[in-house]
Symmetry: D2
Subunit: 366 residues, 4 copies
C-alpha cells in the first residue's frame, strides 16, 4: 500500500502521518520522488481500509493498494520512480539506474592467479569499465571441475581493487561465506542457480550491501521479482536484476536464449535497475558484441561482459570470454551507441536523439 | 560442394568447367561474388571426390564440401556472400539484404474491410513503410474464430497496392491457394504453424515468388534453415527468414520470447536475409517499440510491425497492434537509429559510426 | 450447449424438441447415452437463453452451456459419455474407446518395399496387433532425406491389408492427397507437424474417415483439442488423439518427453479416445517397452509401436524401432498387464482388479 | 575406472591389489556384487594406463574406464549392480532399491500442528506407508507466504516418529540447519530449487545420512546425476533420486510435466534408487492416482504422495494433496499392481508375471 502526498505538503505533516501509521504496527518508508513524496507501507496491510488512511490528513492525494505479489519490488511501490543503486568504489560512487549512464562490468569467469586478474583489471579499466567481475567461489555442474580458488581468490580481487580502483562484483554461494565475500565485494552476486536459495536471499537481505540477483535459467519474470522481494523484504533496498539467458528447447548454437524482452517487461513491473550478461546468455564470444548492442538499444542500465587475457586457456567458460582486444573494440562500439541514447558516462558529445530511455521510464499510471 | 574459381578466370573457362560438371548429372549454379566466381554444385555430390573436380581446371582455387545439413541455405554455399532478395513493387524494387537499408513491413493482422485496409496502407506508406502486410487467410487456433475474408480480402489488398504502390505480403495456408495468393502478393508468407508443412514449402519453392518463411514457435534454428532449404532446393532462391518469437516456459507477460540472438547466429550460418516481427513475438503493443530498436541494433534487415487504425476493435491480435500514431512515432525513433547503423533508405545524414552490419557480414572463413 | 432429456422421454418428444431447435438455425445432434438422451446444439448458440430452451418441453431435465473453447470435443458435450471410434477392418470392426480393449497399432516408420511391409504385417498380426502403420508420405526435416515412396507405398499397404486383414493407418500431408490416402487407409493420420495445418484439418473433417490426430511436439493440450475441434466442427466425429512426446529442454537421452499425464488430463476434458506412441516419444527402442507399460497403467486406449524387421537398415527412425522379436516379447508383457486392467481383447482370464479405467471414465459432473 | 576381479578371486589377492592401488594415491572402493567383486577407483585416474592395473594381478578380469561425467553415480561404477539405500526406522530397516518392494512415503506438504501431523502419520501408517513426509522449512516463491514452522515443526515430526514408528523425510534448505534436521530426519531431502546448491550438496555429502535428491524443475537428467555425484563424491553413498515433474511450455492443466521416461533412462545410466512424486508433478489431486499407477508400471522404487487431513484448509499445496480416504483408496489400488510386478512388501499372493523390474535391471554391458 502506498500513500501519495500532495505536492507541497509540509515535512511536518508527512512526519505526522508517518507517526500515525507507525502506531498501527506498520512501517512507513518515505520516498522523495521528483515531484511528490510517497510513503510506502510495509507490514500487514491486508486489513487496513484505504479510507482509514485517507482520513489521516487532507494532504493525502490518494492511497493505493499494490496488487502485484511482489510489493516492494513493484513499480507502484515507488509510484513509478526508478530506484538507484549507488555503489561506492575506490574510483568514486557508481550509480545503477534508468536515468544514469550505462555501467560496464567486465572480467574473467573465475580468478585464476594474481597476474591474470590484475592484468585483466587494468585492461578493462583502461577500456572504460567501472567494475571488475571474477569468481572466487564457482558453482560448477561437476564436482570434479575447477571450483574457484575461494578465499585466496578474494584476496586477489582485493588487490585488483586497490590497484585499479574498480568496484568488485563476485558471487557468494553459502550463507557461511557472506561476511567474507562482502568484505571484499562492492556488489555481492547471487548466481542463477541460487536465485531461489531463500536462506541465502534472506541473509544477504539482512545486509545493506548492493546485491546483483541473476535470473535463474528457468525462472519466470515473476519468480525472479519474488526472489528480489525476499532481499527487499529483509531490509536491503539495493538490488540489481541481471538477465543472463534462459533455457529453451534450442541449445544448439547458443548456450541459453537471451531474453531481451525482459527489459521492457521489467520496466512496466519494477523500479529496480537492470543488467544484461550477454556472455553467459549466448555462451560464445562471437555473439557477445551484437547482443550487447541490442541490450543497449533496449535500454539496459548495465552490461556484464566476460573478458579473459587468454580465453583458450581459461579454467572456466573460455568460449564465451572476449579477449582484452575484443573487449576494447566492443567498448569502442558501445560508446557511440550509448551516447546516441544519452547514456554514456563521459557524455561529451551531443546526443543524436532525445533520451529514449527517459520515455520508457515515464510512469504510465499505477 | 562449391568450386571457388581464381580471380580473373575467363568466362569461357568457367563455362567449360560448368559443362563438365553438368555431364556428371550435377547442376552447377554460378554465383558472381564481389571478388570471385563460385560454382555451387547441386545434386548428389556425396560420391564425388573433390580432387576429381580440382583436376578439371588450373583456374580452380579450391573445392569445398558444405558440411551443414542445409546446403543451399548455408553461408558456405555462397562463399560468405549475403544473398539479396529483390522484390519488384509498384513503387520500385525493394531489396532485402545485409548491405541494404532496413525494410519496414506494416499493416493489420487481418484485412477487415476496404476502408480499414486502404486507410492503414496510406498511413503506413506516409510514415515510410515499403510493404503492407494483411491476412486474407488466417490460421486460428479455434475453428470458431474469424478465419479471414479469403479471396475477397485478396482483392482488397490488390486495391491497397494500386492506391499506395506498396508491396503486399500475405500468407498462404493451402497448396490449392498458392496461385491465387501469388497473383496479389509481392511476397508470399509461410506462417509459423506451417513452417514444416513440407508440401506447401515444396510448392512455393516451385515458383520464383519471394517467400517470407516465419520460424515455427518451437522450431530450432536448424529446423528453420532446413525448412528454407526445402524452398531453395525446389528452385526458388528468394527466401527471407522471419523470427517472430519462440515458445518458452514463461508466457505471463509476453506471448512468446523474441529470440534476438537468432540474428547473429543466422549471420554465421546463412546468407539469407532476416526479418524480425516484434508484434507477434511480444504480443503487446507497449513492448513493440523497444524490441524493434533492439532488433535494429542487432542488425536485422527488416521489421514487420502490426498496425491497426483501431486496435481495440481489431478482429484479431488487437493487443499487439500499434495505432497509426504509435507507428508514426516508432518510425521517427527507428530512422535515426537505422541511420546510425548506416541502414536507412534515405541515408541523407552522415552516419555516426562505420557500418556495424558490414563487420558482421564479413566471411570469417568457410 | 447441451439439452439433457429426462429418462424415459418418448422418442417423439425428443424429435419435437429437435425440430423446434432446428427452426432456430441450430443443428441438434442426438446422443443416446447409457442412461439418458442428450441433444448437443451446434451453431451460434451464444445468443440463446437457456430458459428459452427449457420452456420447450417438460421432459427437459436441464440445459447446460459448454464453457470450454473446444465445444464438440469437450466431455460436457457428450454429458460425460466417452465416444467410440469404430473402424471397420477386413478382420472385423475394431473399437477405440475407454470401455474397450487396448488397440495395438504396429509397423515400420515408412513402407520401404513389398517384402518388408508384408513380412512386418504378418508378424505384427501374429503377435496380436489390430492395425498396421507405415508411412507412404513422410514429413522429413531435410528435403534430402527419404520422403517416402508415396503412391506406390499406398499400393503396398493395400496389399498388406489384403494379405493380413489388418486395418491400415497412414499419414496424409497434403490436401491434394486426401482421397488417395483415404482409399487405402482405414484410419488417416495427421502428423505432429501438421497438427495446426488448418486447411488439412478442415478437409479431413469433411470426410467420415477415422482420423488419428497426433499432438504437435510443442502443442498445449488445449491447442490439440482445438485442432480436434476443427475436424469435429467440419462434421467428422471419428477422431483419435495420439500423444507422441513433447519437446522440452532435455533432449540428451530421449528424443522427446512422453507426457503420460496427458492421459488423466484428457479424461477430465474430452470424450475422445487416446493413443500413445512411445516410439516417437522416446526415440530409442530400449525405452519403448517400459513406456508402453506405463501408458497402459495410465489408461491409454491404444498404443502405436514402431516395428521393423531390420531396424539397423531402416530408411527412417531405425533407432526407435523394435525388431519383430522385441515386439512379440512386448506383446507378451502387455497382455497380462492389460488383462489386469480388464482391457485385453481376448479377455479369457479373470481380472485381478475391478476395472480401473471405468472409475476414471465416470462423469464427475458437467 | 573400475577393476573387475575374476569370480573366485581370494580375498587376500583383492586386498593386495587394493593396497597397490592405494600406493598410487587412488582410493579403492570394494563392491561385492552378486557374482563378482569390483573395485572402483576414486581419485585422479586420468593419467593411469589401464594396462598398468591389468598387470597387477592375473585375477583381474578387466579394467574399465567410466566415460560418463558422473563417475560414482554411473551404472558402470557398480558394474551394473543396483545400489540399495537402507534406512533404519523405528519400525525396522526399509530398503530403497530395484530388487526391493515399493516404498511409500506420504504426508502433508508442511507440518502445521501436532494434531494434524500425528493424525496424518497414524493414518498413512495404517494404510501401509513406510515413511512420513512433512516440511518444517518450506521454500516458498513469496517471502510473505507461510515458510514452515521450522524447529518446532521438527519436534512435531520427532513426536510423530515416536508415535508411529514411521521413518521421517523432511527438507533442509540451509547448510546451517543440517545437524538439526538430520537429528530428526531418517532421510534428509534436498528440494528441487536447491538441486544445484552445491554448498548444501557437499555438506550433506559429508554425512552418511540417506539423502533424497529432488530433480530441479528444469534440470537435465545429466545435471541431476552430477548433483548426486557431488554428494557421492563427498563420501555419502546413500542417495535416492526423486523425479517431481519438469517445467515445460504447457502449464495450463498440470503444474509440471511428470517425466516418467526418466525411470528407464536412469536405469541405463545409474545404480541409484528412484522415487516419483506425482503430487508435485501434476499439482492436482485428481491426477495423482493415475500417475502413481503409471510410475509403478514403469518400475519406480518408491512413491511420495502428498496427504492432508483437510486439503481445502492446507497452509500450502492443498490442491495437490489427497485426503486420508483418497490415500487409503490409492493404497488399495497400488497394492495389487505392485504385487503384479512382484514389488509389494507383504508379497503374500502369487505374482501374475515374472519380475518385470528384474529384466530392466539386468546389465546390458558396461
Amino acid at each position: 500500500m502506498i500513500v501519495v502526498m500532495k505536492s507541497g505538503t509540509p515535512l511536518a505533516e508527512i512526519e505526522r502521518v508517518s507517526q500515525e501509521i507507525r502506531s498501527w504496527d506498520i512501517t512507513p518508508e518515505k520516498l522523495e520522488g521528483t515531484h511528490k513524496v510517497v510513503i510506502g507501507l510495509v507490514g500487514d496491510t491486508a486489513e487496513i481500509d484505504p479510507r482509514q488512511i485517507q482520513n489521516l490528513s487532507h494532504c493525502i492525494e490518494q492511497v493505493l493498494r499494490v496488487k502485484k505479489p511482489f510489493k516492494r519490488a513493484s513499480k507502484e511501490f515507488r509510484y513509478g520512480e526508478p530506484s538507484e543503486v549507488v555503489v561506492p568504489t575506490p574510483n568514486g560512487p557508481v550509480t545503477f539506474g534508468q536515468n544514469h549512464p550505462l555501467v560496464v562490468v567486465a572480467g574473467p569467469c573465475s580468478v585464476e592467479n594474481e597476474e591474470m586478474i590484475v592484468k585483466t583489471a587494468l585492461a578493462v579499466k583502461a577500456a572504460g569499465a567501472q567494475f571488475l567481475r571474477g569468481g572466487a567461489y564457482k558453482p560448477r555442474t561437476s564436482p570434479y571441475a575447477f571450483q574457484g580458488h575461494g578465499e585466496s581468490a578474494l584476496e586477489l580481487l582485493a588487490k585488483a581493487r586497490v590497484v585499479t580502483g574498480l568496484g568488485i562484483i563476485t558471487e557468494v554461494m553459502d550463507t557461511a561465506d557472506i561476511d567474507k565475500v562482502a568484505s571484499v565485494a562492492d556488489v555481492v552476486q547471487i548466481g542463477a542457480r541460487n536465485m531461489q536459495n531463500f536462506s541465502l536471499l534472506r541473509k544477504v537481505g539482512a545486509t545493506l550491501k548492493p546485491i546483483l540477483l541473476k535470473r535463474g535459467p528457468s525462472a519466470t519474470i515473476e519468480e525472479w521479482l519474488m526472489a528480489a522481494e525476499y532481499i527487499l523484504a529483509a531490509g536491503n533496498p539495493n538490488v540489481i536484476l541481471c538477465e543472463r539467458g534462459i533455457r529453451t528447447f534450442d541449445q544448439q548454437y547458443t548456450r541459453n536464449t537471451l531474453d531481451i524482452s525482459a527489459i521492457p517487461v521489467l520496466r512496466t513491473l519494477t523500479h529496480l535497475p537492470i543488467m544484461i550478461d550477454p556472455s553467459h546468455a549466448t555462451g560464445f564470444s562471437e555473439f557477445v558484441s551484437t547482443m550487447a548492442m541490442a541490450s543497449i538499444a533496449a535500454g539496459t542500465d548495465s552490461l556484464m561482459i566476460e573478458v579473459h587475457p587468454n580465453p583458450a586457456k581459461a579454467l572456466s567458460d573460455g568460449p564465451q570470454s572476449l579477449t582484452i582486444e575484443a573487449f576494447e573494440q566492443l567498448m569502442q562500439e558501445m560508446a557511440p551507441l550509448s551516447k546516441f541514447f544519452g547514456r554514456w558516462a563521459k557524455n561529451d558529445s551531443a546526443t543524436v536523439m532525445p533520451k529514449f530511455a527517459a520515455k520508457v521510464a515515464t510512469m504510465a499510471g499505477v
